[in-house]
């Protein structure tokens, strides 16, 4: 505290934050918003301000207002194609500060040495109050305080607009308020910087009412788009360091193999290549990338691994999950909306649906394989250049692997290939291997996985199945709804290189794990049909497939992927709703409306009726007969992170070939406030196409030993030829008062909408994904 008092002349409490100031600095001046834990030591916070410059070695500044009336903000989030940190975050900051969008000139993101908050790149809009909004709201209070003093009017008589404060007949820009002064606002936070969730700003600074937002709600271009198109952006793949070497890793032949003997390289062919072996981690390091690649093939051929067969194989997956996995070790979790008495509801039912739905493993499948460049120094410090959704969590894990403190580890993040959740707990795959190879050879090493490494050794979205029982009464209404969701653990954040090398990592997912690596399966898909009085939703979790049989505790490592867990739970529910509507002789859309009470949901469903050109009629249209192409319509609905979604599509099915083609596709999205219509539209389009891809094509193949999906031929994804006539309907409802998420969910609507359309067209329920022709033909025969 003493140090703090010395450095600052004056301190003022501003809505629970502390404003400190020292006037008349020689040049510049700024209002810098940092964080502090108020009951802790403040001396370190005070050290942050040295002159008028932000000290990057103390990454504690969220927002800086500068004398030229521009703003810089820092966020621990990175960009994975959502664009949020460059669009919505700018809009949110501009709105809270009463500044124009263009005044928010600089966005500093994600690097552990230059940004404050940590946390994963997910839930970016924070259910309406992301950290950045609170930081801006606190900043606004400091501006009001400063303006009140300067203008000589009480704080509540200061008006702000367009980067200016006015009152008492005078006006001053924010830039003039901070000019020649050394101002620092310390705001309260809680949380753990290197945990998956990072720090959270606490307290309740006054927020601008939704009715007064005027930057949020308009379309603005995404600045990183222009940088990428101009090739001005520095991609992670293009980062180079002096003396940098290229590394490749020779991964084991199975998911449970141990190293018997590492291969060597022919020194006449690869004179400068070095083979590095650490436990079961085998790598090659060479001066050029092409030499590293070729040498790694030679080493791979000559390396001997022990054999292992601990997987059920893809064809036995669901039988094995049902009969061999231990679903009792983790407690069953019930959804919060479960209510009533399903047994009583089921008695005297007129019609019953009992069905099982299955979703396979999917790959995040980034277009570029994981890549990281590590520079391990003799003093034990290391800097990692990578593309991660959670730089601070990665930093913590790398420190654990190295047995050192987080102070020794810096993680820097650059644009890279999106991977849709794979690194939200820190790593995407190559980071720790790059660190270990760099440490071994004493030079910076760039490790990029080859395509087959990325398909075979990355994590995947977990497979899941669900058993559904629905009872319908004599009026065709749901009298009881029961569902049991089964899904192996979804969040394995262990560093795979550390696992192979036998170095410390966080524990494998188990029933003893914490909130992130516990194998219990939670309810993720909010029940929508509130008129149902007897509801029981149960979620069952277990270990990852093969994990317990693998000497490395590896198996099929799972990881959250776009709309994680909720996709796996929404698909069976929405499919079952379509099939229940069929049993009731009802129109599936009207059937949902009849079981819904929530006004926002009803509004979305009614918009879907008109916008999609939905035919109000019974499903299925008619039982398929013969081999001629038939058409049908299907739909789905979801609530996710503050946003209501509904989707309808029309498909054609050719029974002779099993080919399903999506012809028309409509998505209605209602997030309350639409923050940026142009950006939301592109996000939803992209999500829709990814969803169509997942529904029609995607499935990870594996045998008893290993993943056999190796490239884009064995893991096909949608192409431009699969894109239907698509319509995105965005419902802007400012009266909701906040903005929900927009970059997820769209991908999860497709599978149930498409599969129910195939059901509508053929009369055959499609309960297994994906709808590849062979699967469709098999289900048509059933």
């Amino acid at each position: 505290m003493e140090h703090f008092r010395e450095a600052y002349e004056q301190m003022t409490d501003v809505c629970g934050a502390r404003l400190s100031r020292r006037s008349f600095v020689k040049t510049g001046g700024a209002l810098v918003v940092g964080f502090g834990v108020f009951r802790g030591r403040s001396a370190k916070a005070a050290e942050m301000i040295k002159g008028d410059a932000f000290d990057v070695s103390l990454p504690a500044s969220w927002i800086e207002i500068r004398p030229d009336n521009t703003v810089l903000f820092r966020t621990g989030k990175s960009d994975f194609g959502q664009g949020t940190i460059y669009t919505a975050y700018r809009q949110i900051v501009a709105d809270e500060l009463d500044m124009p969008f263009e005044a928010i000139t600089t966005v500093v993101s994600a690097d552990t040495d230059t940004t404050p908050e940590g946390g994963g790149t997910f839930g970016l809009l924070g259910e309406g109050t992301p950290n950045i909004r609170k930081a801006a709201a606190y900043t606004k209070q400091a501006i009001l305080q400063l303006a009140s003093e300067r203008l000589g009017v009480p704080k509540d008589q200061v008006r702000t607009a367009d980067g200016k404060a006015s009152g008492g007949g005078k006006e001053i820009t924010y830039g003039e308020l901070v000019k020649d002064q050394d101002l620092k606002l310390t705001i309260p936070v809680s949380g753990d910087l290197t945990s998956i969730f990072g720090l959270r700003i606490t307290g309740d600074p006054p927020l601008k009412p939704a009715s007064e937002l005027n930057v949020v709600g308009k379309s603005f271009k995404n600045s990183i788009v222009s940088e990428k198109v101009r090739h001005d952006a520095l991609w992670v793949t293009n980062v180079k360091l002096p003396g940098m070497l290229h590394g490749r890793v020779v991964h084991p032949t199975t998911l449970g193999s141990q190293l018997v003997q590492a291969g060597t390289v022919d020194p006449t062919k690869f004179p400068n290549t070095r083979v590095v072996v650490k436990g079961n981690l085998v790598g090659v390091v060479a001066p050029t990338e092409w030499e590293a690649i070729q040498a790694s093939y030679q080493v791979a051929k000559a390396t001997k691994w022990s054999d292992w067969k601990g997987l059920p194989g893809k064809d036995n997956l669901f039988a094995s999950l049902r009969n061999e996995s231990d679903w009792k070790v983790a407690p069953v979790q019930k959804s919060r909306k479960s209510k009533g008495d399903v047994a009583a509801g089921a008695r005297g039912a007129k019609n019953k649906l009992a069905a099982t739905y299955q979703l396979p493993y999917w790959k995040h499948a980034p277009i570029g394989p994981t890549m990281a460049l590590a520079d391990y120094r003799p003093d034990g410090s290391v800097t990692v250049h990578t593309h991660t959704q959670n730089a601070q969590a990665l930093r913590g894990q790398l420190a654990m692997m190295l047995g050192t403190s987080v102070d020794k580890v810096t993680v820097k993040t650059y644009p890279g290939a999106g991977h849709y959740g794979r690194s939200n707990g820190g790593n995407a795959g190559a980071e720790d291997e790059a660190v270990l190879l760099s440490k071994e050879v004493g030079k910076p090493v760039r490790v990029q996985w080859m395509r087959d490494d990325d398909m075979k050794w990355s994590t995947q979205s977990p497979a899941a199945y669900a058993d559904v029982n629905i009872s319908l009464d004599e009026h065709g209404r749901i009298a009881a709804y029961e569902i049991d969701h089964y899904q192996p653990a979804m969040q394995d954040d262990r560093l795979i290189g550390a696992v192979l090398a036998g170095l410390p990592t966080m524990p494998a997912p188990s029933e003893k794990g914490g909130p992130i690596n516990n194998i219990a399966n939670g309810s993720s898909d909010m029940w929508l049909y509130d008129a149902v009085t007897n509801l029981d939703e149960r979620c069952h979790g277990t270990y990852q497939v093969g994990q317990q049989k693998s000497p490395l505790a590896v198996g099929l490592r799972d990881h959250s992927m776009r709309t994680p867990g909720q996709f796996q739970q929404n698909f069976p529910r929405e499919m079952a709703m379509n099939e229940a509507a069929a049993l009731a002789g009802a129109d599936p859309l009207q059937f949902r409306i009849d079981h819904a009470k929530d006004e926002r949901l009803l509004n979305v469903l009614r918009h879907l009726q008109t916008e999609a050109g939905w035919e109000a009629r019974k499903t299925p249209k008619a039982a398929a007969s013969g081999q001629a192409t038939v058409r049908g319509q299907g739909m789905s609905a979801m609530f996710r992170s503050g946003t209501y979604w509904a989707c309808a599509c029309e498909v054609s099915v050719t029974p002779a070939t099993g080919v399903v083609k999506v012809e028309k596709y409509t998505v209605v999205v209602e997030p309350g406030i639409v923050v940026n219509p142009e950006q939301l539209k592109r996000q939803v389009e992209g999500g829709a196409v990814m969803g169509i891809s997942i529904a029609l094509y995607e499935e990870v193949n594996f045998n008893q030993s290993a993943i056999t999906t190796a490239n884009w031929s064995s893991y096909p994804i949608a192409t431009m030829a699969d894109v239907p006539d698509i319509k995105i309907v965005m419902l802007h409802r400012p009266e909701v008062g906040q903005y929900g998420q927009g970059s997820e969910a769209a991908n999860a609507l497709a599978a149930s909408a498409i599969a129910s359309a195939v059901f509508d067209a053929t009369g055959k329920p499609m309960r297994k994904m994906p709808l590849r022709p062979a699967n469709v033909m098999e289900m048509l025969k059933a």
Binding site: N238, I367, G416, R682, E685, V723
Partner: protein
Amino acid sequence: MNLTVNGKSLPVASPQDTPLLYVLRDELGIDSPQFGCGLAQCGACSVLVNGQEVRSCVTPASMAVGKEVTTLEGLPARWAAQKHLPQNQANPALHPVQLAWIEQQVPLCGFCQSGMMIKATELLEHKANPTDAEISEAFTTGGVSPRLCRCGTYIAIRDAVRHASKLMAQGEV
């Protein structure tokens, strides 16, 4: 060997059978083409060789000797040369394809988009006003493999190709 890349003749020391991708990226520092699969299955590494889109990850560098290689970095100058504009006017102006990609906000993660813009340039140089079916064909069956975008930007790409076609017809830079 020498390679002509974006209008400049450059000496190359890498072995002749090195794929063009690594020569461009690692030796010449022309790093817009990206490694996606190394198997000519995705198009992230696409460059123009004498105006034809090729997958640089499987093309030996020696195959490009005596030919014109164009990457994303070279698109503005390529457009300037086609329109007989002085080179200094072409820089920092962008190729109409790039202008359209920005106007239509095409990239999400953007990792595939260098290759997508290369493909769009090839298409529009051969067919000034393609139909949706022709655009779709160019990006799927018209080549060794479909051009893949994992973020699902195909709709935006189609919009941007149409937009670029209009800009090129107007001769705007």
